[in-house]
Symmetry: C2
Subunit: 325 residues, 2 copies
DNA sequence: TTGTATGCGTTATCAC
DNA sequence: GTGATAACGCATACAA
């Protein structure tokens, strides 16, 4: 492949002039400009972006760390990020971690290696300290609340979201309230656990450990929940389900096996997935797309201006009452 | 940041030796090796990956071109790609195109610029010729059938999938058969249109143009389909729906408005989404994950061995009969 | 086993 | 306006 030295030779100018023309700088005579572009045509030249990255020390690439892609929550967040990035001329490098700390470290190392200009962490497993250790290696924006750490974060207020739904259920008279969650670790899950403790504690309800259903990520997990629920002696009368997919699985399987929703079991989902509207599910609407968009915008501002005030933006959730709870 | 020259100075060796140690080459004395690693520690050194890329002329990055991410079809394909890539130590650079030719060209240009070692095209809008023009610029694997072009492709045989479902409906006595599709352009859509023409033509059925519902991508589009269906004078008695999401929307909304499935309207979805199982939907199972995995494996083999025989792998689809059709 | 020198393809800084 | 030339940071062929 031809490089700018070849171009310079062909056009009878210096490499500096070639570079100026290629990057649209002023102060180049029209005739040389023309000669350069002709050489570009003739030699079928294309810029080598790796060399540009090395010379400039920047890539206009941002990394996106997330556990998995094929999941409505994360694919919505990444869509939001992607949409914004597209508009700003940035590219996205994907780091799928499966919540393995080892993989998270790999992504952070890539930031150190200057493979990307910044990193958006959608969700993670490793301790905050791990991320803090890479602070000097590039801008990092987190999509989870980081209490007691001065990271840049944009996050959905899951405590408030959970508390809101719990109070609604308490008001309706429910006392045996359980919940379904994707995993028990991680800031989002812990915020929800805290809300669960706090709100239920405030009315003197002591929740049973078996009312917490772990590992609920996909539609089919809802089936499992109903099955377990039916086997229980002391069944919860209501369930908070942190994913509308799982909630839909619960509602649909309940229908199949003759469990009446909401009479026997009230169900409140999260996300406000189109599925929730379609099934008439009560749900807490979460702004995933906006989360991704705002996360990118924050990182972008940071990258372009070099320094922005520390930001911790909280995105609100909104209970949408329909028929299942 | 420290570079290998600083390391060399610190360790009292040459940059070549530093490079050897860093990359684990043999024939370095234990004492120098130790000195280098100590220097690495002391100077808090990390390799600059951009420089590595430039020097090696490779990046171990593959691009993934796709219209949108937040869609069950594409997020499944990309999950398959990602899974394989992770295992091989490759990274994924995302190119979301929204089916805009301009964006597709941008991705191809990036391949020319050597930003990535190869490109996987999940779906595209531009003409084959556009892609053919970039053949020399790097390995490209397509996830759509390319008749009459010698691209490397791995694809789902949508003609066969469609034909299979159509014949099943014909056998059940249906004659007024329509279908719902995401878009009418693109190889996959055209393959389905061809199957529709051929199979229906083979039994002398002349399909009505209004039996084709375009722009069906998401759950909520199913609602629209039912509404339009109800407004029709001559309604189709069966619908092929190229996405289980849309099919679920149809089934659920039909239930709401009192349309009986499959008596009044038979519905066959595609994908075998968990939702299809849950709703008891007849569907054609499509191997999305496998598609992504195989596409990456093919590209990977191409990248590692330099030259592989031209491949056009066809992935089969399988009709799963349940209750809606 | 080790070091020197050169290449990778740009961008950026000067001097003219 | 233009052209040398030095970065950018690493890999590697060739010598020794």
């Amino acid at each position: 492949m031809a490089n700018i030295r070849d171009l310079a030779k062909e056009a009878g100018v210096s490499v500096a002039t070639v570079s100026r023309v290629l990057n649209g700088y002023p102060y180049v005579s029209e005739e040389k400009r023309k000669a350069v572009w002709e050489a570009v045509e003739k030699l079928n030249y294309t810029k080598n972006i790796q060399a540009v990255h090395l010379a400039k020390g920047k890539t206009r690439i941002v990394g996106v760390m997330l556990p998995y892609i094929h999941h409505p929550y994360f694919s919505a967040v990444i869509e939001g990020i992607s949409k914004e990035a597209l508009g700003c001329g940035y590219q996205l490098l994907l780091f799928q971690t499966n919540y393995e700390v080892k993989r998270e470290l790999e992504a952070l190392e890539r930031l150190r290696m200057k493979q990307m200009d910044g990193l958006i962490v959608c969700s993670h497993e490793a301790d905050w300290e791990v991320f803090a250790a890479y602070r000097e290696d590039g801008p990092i924006v987190l999509c989870e609340r980081a209490v007691g750490h001065d990271f840049f974060t944009v996050y959905i207020d899951h405590y408030q979201a959970f508390a809101q739904a719990l109070r609604y259920l308490l008001d309706k008279g429910h006392r045996r309230i359980g919940y379904c969650i994707g995993r028990t670790t991680g800031p989002n899950s812990q915020a929800r656990a805290a809300a669960y403790r706090d709100v239920l504690g405030s009315v003197g309800v002591i929740p049973q450990p078996q009312w917490i259903f772990d590992g609920c990520l996909f539609l089919e997990d809802g089936k499992r929940v109903i099955e377990r629920w039916m086997d229980m002696k002391e069944r919860p009368s209501a369930l908070l389900v942190t994913s509308d997919q799982v909630a839909a699985g619960i509602v649909l399987h309940a229908q199949r096996v003759g469990v009446h929703i909401p009479e026997e079991l009230a169900v409140i989902g999260f996300d406000n997935d189109p599925l929730a509207e379609m099934l008439g599910m009560t749900t807490v609407a979460l702004p995933h797309l906006a989360l991704g968009e705002k996360a990118f915008r924050l990182l972008h501002q940071w990258l372009e201006t070099g320094n922005v005030p520390r930001t911790q933006e909280e995105l609100p959730a909104r209970l949408i009452v329909r028929m299942t709870g």
